[in-house]
């Protein structure tokens, strides 16, 4: 009786499996041959197709239509339900076999197998979703990376606004002698924008270039904005730069360029106020060069420090920078 039932089950299962698995399993002719025998029939049933998702022998035939129904439902859900069905079949059939034959050693599993296993974990839909997710993640992070790099690039090149908590402590009171011999203090420069450059007259190439740049920028700014900026040249070599020396030197560049010099300790005080480094180098007899920081300081009409410009600015960028600061501080 049991074997007959098994045979019936096998035949029915076989028919169903054939319809499902025919396109997929190339070995199916052999399998169908195999399944003809009852012993391997059960094998075939066990591993290749399922007739029920629940346990119970009687319910086998009843569950058949149900599994067909499942198949129908599964089809709408996933693309290739055939494999999934096949797989679920392999999953569920052994369980039902066990249930029938043994006790409930795998009760937990059968409990879970009671639920409707639509398909296996892998299907065409899941593959598509995986590709979409993976591609989406890659594209998203790629964009994030590009944006981050752009940000870094722009951050190094753009000028950040200064901290809101005050300004740099650059500048301060000083008392020096100008190129005409008059004593000038920082108070004399109030009321107008000032551009201060520290250098010395015996400079081989840098100071002349910087001063030339400075006065050209000043003229350009005068053209563009009608603002007058006072260019100032402070010598860091007071021992050699006398008033006459400075006078002749600055007159060559611009009539409005003011040259300042003084006693060594006065110069030292100014240099400290403006954080300017200067040091005598290459000293041989009385001929030496002075190593110094190459900076132009822009001071506002209240003689407060606003911005500095280094050697990397050329005439046009210097002009732009100054105009920007002037308009910003209006």
């Amino acid at each position: 009786m049991g074997s007959y039932r098994g045979l019936v089950r096998g035949m029915i299962g076989l028919k169903r499996c054939q319809t499902i698995l025919q396109p997929l399993h190339r070995r199916s002719p052999q399998l169908t041959a195999l399944s003809r025998t009852s012993a391997s029939g059960t094998l075939f049933n066990r591993y290749l197709c399922s007739v029920s998702t629940t346990s119970g022998g009687q319910s086998d035939t009843k569950t058949l239509p149900k599994s067909d129904y499942d198949k129908g439902k599964g089809d709408s859900g996933s693309g290739k339900t055939d494999t999934s069905e096949g797989q679920s079949d392999t999953k569920t059939l052994p369980k039902s076999d066990y249930d029938k034959e043994k006790g409930d050693s795998r009760s937990g599993k059968t409990g879970s197998s009671k639920k409707d296993v639509r398909g296996g974990p892998v299907s065409w839909l899941s593959l598509i979703l995986l590709l979409i997710t993976g591609g989406g993640i890659v594209v998203y992070f790629d964009r994030e990376k590009k944006r981050h790099i752009e940000e870094l690039k722009s951050r190094t090149s753009s000028v950040k606004p200064g901290p809101s908590a005050g300004t740099a402590a650059i500048g301060g009171p000083f008392k020096l002698v100008d190129h005409n011999g008059n004593i000038k203090t920082d108070k004399n420069f109030l009321g107008k924008w000032t551009l201060i450059y520290f250098g010395f007259t015996h400079c081989p190439d840098i100071c002349p270039d910087e001063l030339q740049k400075m006065v050209t920028a000043i003229d350009k700014i005068k053209e563009k904005t009608k603002m007058e900026i006072v260019p100032v040249f402070i010598s860091v070599d007071p021992e050699r730069d006398t008033v006459e020396q400075i006078h002749d030197y600055v007159n060559e560049f611009h009539p409005r360029l003011i040259g300042l010099t003084g006693k060594p300790d006065e110069i030292r005080q100014v240099a400290r106020a403006f954080r300017v480094y200067y040091m005598k180098t290459d000293e041989q007899d009385s001929d030496y060069l002075v190593d110094h920081s190459i900076v132009m300081y822009l001071m506002n009409p209240k003689m407060e420090f606003v911005k500095f410009f280094g050697k990397n600015y050329d005439v046009d960028t210097l002009t732009e920078g100054i105009i920007k600061e002037i308009t910003a501080h209006k």
Binding site: V138, F141, D142, K145, K146, I149, T201, H202, C203, P204, D205, P208, E239, R240, T242, E244, Q245, D248, Y249, E252, D282, Q284, S286, D287, Y288, L289
Partner: protein, 106 residues
């Protein structure tokens, strides 16, 4: 202390500067031109130059202050050194690639 010369040192004013620059450029052009000749003469700051440029060197030294001559020589040597570093040494250099800026290689 006060200036020892008393007057204005004219060689740092623009005319003096221009003369110096001209002589300097002439001298360095000569050195570049005769780069294949054996440098036998000694300039300052470690610079050597071939004897063909002795005349321009004399003019250069006379037009410029000594400290300026040393300064320009030093500058020239540094420039030469950097150039040498950039031109040669390809054999010892490995692949120098920066990290890929984007996931998709364009």
């Amino acid at each position: 202390m006060g200036s020892n010369q008393g007057g204005v040192m004219a060689d740092v004013l623009s005319k003096g500067r221009d003369n110096c620059y001209k002589a300097r450029d002439a001298f360095y052009a000569c050195v570049e031109k005769e780069a294949d000749k054996q440098p036998t003469e000694i300039a300052t700051a470690g610079l050597l130059f071939p004897s063909q440029c002795k005349q321009s060197r004399a003019l250069y030294v006379s037009s410029c202050r000594a400290s300026w001559v040393r300064h320009f020589d030093r500058q020239f040597c540094a420039k030469k050194r950097v150039q040498r570093l950039l031109d040669s040494d390809d054999s010892r250099r490995g692949p120098m690639t920066l990290p890929q800026p984007s996931t998709f290689k364009t």
